[in-house]
Symmetry: C2
Subunit: 349 residues, 2 copies
Amino acid sequence: MAVTLADVAARARVSAATVSRVLSGNYPVAESTRNRVLRAVDELEYVVNGPASALAAATSDLVGVLVNDIADPFFGIMAGAVQAEMGAPAGEPGRGGEKLAVICNTGGSPERELNYLTLLQRQRAAAVVLTGGAVEHPDHAAAVAAKASRLAASGTRVVLCGRPPIADATTLTFDNRGGARRLTEHLLTLGHRRIGYVAGPAERTTTRHRLEGHRAALGAAGLDADLERLTVHGLYDRASGYDATLELLRRDRGLTAIVAANDTIALGVCAALRDQGLRIPEDVSVAGFDDLPFSADAVPALTTMRLPLHEAGARAGRLALGREPQPPGGVAMVRAELMARASTAPPRG
Amino acid sequence: MAVTLADVAARARVSAATVSRVLSGNYPVAESTRNRVLRAVDELEYVVNGPASALAAATSDLVGVLVNDIADPFFGIMAGAVQAEMGAPAGEPGRGGEKLAVICNTGGSPERELNYLTLLQRQRAAAVVLTGGAVEHPDHAAAVAAKASRLAASGTRVVLCGRPPIADATTLTFDNRGGARRLTEHLLTLGHRRIGYVAGPAERTTTRHRLEGHRAALGAAGLDADLERLTVHGLYDRASGYDATLELLRRDRGLTAIVAANDTIALGVCAALRDQGLRIPEDVSVAGFDDLPFSADAVPALTTMRLPLHEAGARAGRLALGREPQPPGGVAMVRAELMARASTAPPRG
DNA sequence: CTGTTAGCGCATTCAC
DNA sequence: GTGAATGCGCTAACAG
């Protein structure tokens, strides 16, 4: 039905093996025959059969990228960067080299995460990149670790980007704890003493680490007594930020600052404050985390911790392709940088 | 090396054929043997070899989703919705049914678009969903159409989501022209007469259609003389909106409204206006297009045309799976809805 | 440098 | 309802 290697071979008057060698390019072939083959390929509009090739070679050119929510720029940026590294380079369509990045949306669900891992294992993926925070349920963590080991054992490279290290995987962790600490210290330095915190879902590593950093900063200042009362958990979305802010104000109308676990939440925080007639930063300072593109454009511009998501994703992509040396110990930390902008200022009076 | 069908068959004391039948589920198998097989699968932690299965069955469970920029929520939302329809349903990991959505980031480059199409063809993808506006270069359009036909001919379903119809593909077009027209009419109704327009890249269908809608509204009001002078092209990003706004103000400081080709551009427009000391909407009204999540949270909240991106993506996903009947003629139009918010108001005086 | 020979792991005829 | 046999299209030794 479709054109096969054999057809090309016949037309070029060579053996199938030769055609295969020309196409994969990793074997010497005489210039003249190579041209003949290439011409036949063009004339026949031949396209390699990926599954057949993967079966014979026992490895495919798929690279899986797992994200919690592809509609969230936090993940979109990382995924895009990973995929850019795979590069289907212009000019040589259909010929060797390109990897196909498979972006899988888990929706934050542990089951779907495992399902996708299985699907990728079934496809004999060349590599898998897990992005974003992990769920901390012991069972799930163990299951993921087991899957990762099995993947690694069967030749699939496993790379983590933005979550804590596990065995058999190269890891790019984000310095969530340190970043969160420096962010809260920034607020303390400005003079704030009553600081609310809007956290993410309790079971995620990112949530816990950022909260720990916040706590550490407060503790160092002897202010951690109120921590629990002034912390509200929600999802990593705008609506949660909005609701959590109302709750925080209910608990302590005298808050002078609110730290959000990420920028998206911070947007909701700002909206709620405005709806309550409070000005930012005059009445309440607001800070986020991640420094997503929209944060610099918020009004007022949002103070936040910048995570180099694009760079991290690109590096994860290179690690997945084995194009970059492993960091020492298989783990590298990505640091966060304070972007002090207009949404934070000293408290009034 | 890895566990194969044969291993499972041996352990379950049946033939490989039977195991295959149990796993694909589309063939009668006695209850007792089925259970025996399933148990063996579990005990051996067997995972189907995707490539082998795809080779034998001449079809894979991959579905390609092409996007211009996965870091842009416009595409992230659609892609996420498509993928959600593929659903790796929780509870039955590794067994039949699930499709794997492959999200491919073209970066808006025609070459990469074609490359990915070839890659997907090579993988014998079950379906391909092309999202967002198309590039209008005649050569490229022809090349894409040809690829689409070839894909369709080889059994790959082709679905378009947000671009004009082509042969051999089911299409969900967006009513960019009508939406843009209604948006500008909204401004005209408010009393605006000097309206700037920040367009996207000239060669994209989305850009042209939205501009045509704008022009139609102006024309109907007898205001199209200034159209060219008050239109600036750029990319679909924030920086372009910023720069274009400065240029527009240079051309006509007396503008009372600026329409942006999408919300992201509108964000840049707002930033530029603010930096120029102009208030929104008192001095200049601003409108966008798409209604991305951040638009409602902008300050002031952005007037825009809402496109039901999630619904459209979900429907595209279902069409790709053949789970939804074709629309009449293979083409359905997705309408845009005016979201009149605080960023537009009558001009002063 | 090039051709020949074997599978890769599974889905599908066919028989039984 | 189940097993045995065949081939999907390609790559990887091995010869030559």
